[in-house]
Symmetry: C2
Subunit: 506 residues, 2 copies
Amino acid sequence: MAKAPKTAIQPTREEDYPEWYQQVIKAADLAEISPVRGCMVIKPWGYAIWENMQAALDRMFKETGHENAYFPLFIPMSFLEKEAKHVEGFAKECAVVTHHRLEPSPDGGLRPAGPLDEPLIVRPTSETIIGAMYAKWVQSYRDLPIRINQWANVVRWELRTRMFLRTAEFLWQEGHTAHATPEEAWEETRLMLDVYSRFARDYLAIPVIQGEKTAGERFPGAVSTLCIEAMMQDRKALQAGTSHFLGQNFSRAQEIKFQNAEGQEDFAWTTSWGVSTRLVGAMIMSHADDDGLVVPPRLAPKHAVILPIYRSEDDRTPVLEYCRRLEREIAAQRHGEAPVRVFIDDRDLRGGEKNWQHVKKGVPLRIEVGPRDVASDHLFVARRDRPEKQSEPRSAFVATIGERLDEIQNGLLRRAAAMRDAHTRSIESVDAFREFFTPRNAERPEIHGGFALAHWVESPETDALLADLKVTVRCLPSNPELAGGPGACVFTGREATQRAVFAKAY
Amino acid sequence: MAKAPKTAIQPTREEDYPEWYQQVIKAADLAEISPVRGCMVIKPWGYAIWENMQAALDRMFKETGHENAYFPLFIPMSFLEKEAKHVEGFAKECAVVTHHRLEPSPDGGLRPAGPLDEPLIVRPTSETIIGAMYAKWVQSYRDLPIRINQWANVVRWELRTRMFLRTAEFLWQEGHTAHATPEEAWEETRLMLDVYSRFARDYLAIPVIQGEKTAGERFPGAVSTLCIEAMMQDRKALQAGTSHFLGQNFSRAQEIKFQNAEGQEDFAWTTSWGVSTRLVGAMIMSHADDDGLVVPPRLAPKHAVILPIYRSEDDRTPVLEYCRRLEREIAAQRHGEAPVRVFIDDRDLRGGEKNWQHVKKGVPLRIEVGPRDVASDHLFVARRDRPEKQSEPRSAFVATIGERLDEIQNGLLRRAAAMRDAHTRSIESVDAFREFFTPRNAERPEIHGGFALAHWVESPETDALLADLKVTVRCLPSNPELAGGPGACVFTGREATQRAVFAKAY
């Protein structure tokens, strides 16, 4: 047998970060590429994590007064055409339905038949089709606000795909709201950015920077796009969620008109906001290590696995009985809003192999129980976020398992925040900026840089420099500590109102 | 002002059943047609009912050992071609994606561009794409069984659509399992039919008949299709769920091969099973009445609405305070696995209008609270399933609200069962059969017939008679009381092994 590698994932993060990412997904059995170009299959462990994200977000949406609904998958081509910038943004990556049946072809196979009068676009996002319905539903200010969310699949025909981060089809939620005043619409836009930030912090254990996108990075058709940006372990930025203030751009295009309290006709002020299965990618790249996935407990499909260990049939019965009692005791404990999710893995597999499967899948706690543990009423407990294992009395462990999971959850957040802070820097000169974003080690080009905070005014020369370094302006941060006061643009010397966050990005 | 009609829904069920159905959907604000041909918009109240169905079914699937996953929306055309009967069944109603972008057209609009090498079909069902993945995942009998469910949208390009019952796009779940033996696959097929039957009985409050479809009504490519059939209030049958034993048909087409325990290669035995948003239609047509929707409590987004009634500002504060305390008390009670869902409707609307909105939406309990009720600590309670209202002491009402909801739930099931039984008949002659399915009242042609139980052997002459009467064989029932023993076919006199269920159907 070949010598076991030192880490479960090969290559390591240091060696080849992009390949490490793919190998973690494979080792944790999260997802797989499918025979359909650019589309992935989300496997049960990956989907269960997404379900936990959905449940938490859905609760937060409902607590903030939103309702769910469902709108059509297809958008007539003419609807997209109504908002010029919107169509410009999505026309190059649309799946287009042109026929509504198949017929036998002369070569013995099938061919499309029944051409449609008007092609249909598989929704890349639903502002236009939802707006068309809102136009029907809104007559008076009394019909406003409308605050609806949709859980759905969307399709953007990306040429270069990467699992969870960029796929042709992905799962997401899209909130669409309409309001009588710009103030209310702005309030909604900010509220949902806050919801996303809280979700990232409390569930994903990812600290994020809130900010506003620059004009060039805005959602096509939006007046303003707010975003949350997170730092991955390779120090690149990942946009983890966006909330758009659409002004009256879409309501004019779709005629979402209403009579205000003064009897005058006005267009509604709309917003939209969304997060997607990309968050699974953010979770992987924030917490996974060279042994595989690390799932924050609040998103873990299973919080703990019990591994019965016995060599003889005589030992089997008492060990299994002890494990079953332990499982019931643990399942009666709570973590956050849910009972602790625990299960016994009694498959007929070598102990080492079985243990490693749960390491690679990122189960927060692994509990080994052998005959000697039963005799001493102790458990041999391993935490996924730490290397050591230790023996603990059963009753004390069971009574504190909820706190233990909190501790793991909070520890992951602290670690991610420390990592981000260590690689966030104020930059005062072009040279320092260039140096920050230049790999220092030619053999490990992936991991370098981080978040640069610098005063900045848009200009073509700066754009060229940024393109050269493959760096983008991530956002104008809203936190005053990050934004700083006015100052001279690092690149042009012109007066800038605040600092921007720069990073290489996904 | 025009004289108020006697019923909230016009026309009534007796007057025009199909139009009544559409009007109930409108009055309860469940859904609406969209600008996209054949696709509907599911509005918040309708979607919340679907979410409750999903939650209950999902729990039942997980309790029976299934996991969720997600597979691509698109199916390459060549995948469909592999199973001859399958493609025959779906080729005529497929949305076909042929291009992957839009480009400016000479007339100033847009046109499809970027033709695909191979057209993609928007999934009408996912046996072929899921089977292709299973073929990769299965090598040995140790990899079996695979028991996965998917919640998804599917598209079947129907020409004649009706909201919830038949739409081009609909939401559903599709279970797909693979097993090492036909016995295990059969067990799964029957297990899921049982799950559907229990769900229909315990949540939808709809009694169903379990049975097997005839060859002509089978799922395209299946060896056998089991189904549950329910009777609607117009006495037509609605197929509410199906569970297919696919044998080795799909595993051969897709090469889902495995090595069995004896080291021989074999094809897996597969099943698939599904229910859809059609169940919302079943719920409407089973329980709604001439005043609108009636939602079984276990599926109701809200179990109870509190309606504060006051004429003066002086009364407002004490009434509202009383209502808020009542809301908290009720929310602390439980119904089934969930807390009682209650809310206060304090909108500035005429009391009568507000009350009728909740009647039309089918909220199980309406609780009116006025100043005199506050003084006497009584509530004025209306049940959606009964015409009368009555005054009740608050504490007794709150303490028993869970039982009250159970009573409503059970009452709806009993009523539906009584209705079905009253219109189910054993038929012994062709004349009696013809009479049973012929409208007796030319002005009310919609409501007649029911379920006919008759011995039957398939024959072209009988098919012609059935087509003439617009009657179909719904299933060969599995319940021995319905199936009866062997007997002579009512139509041909030939020996039949059991009776079949006949009905007009949706």
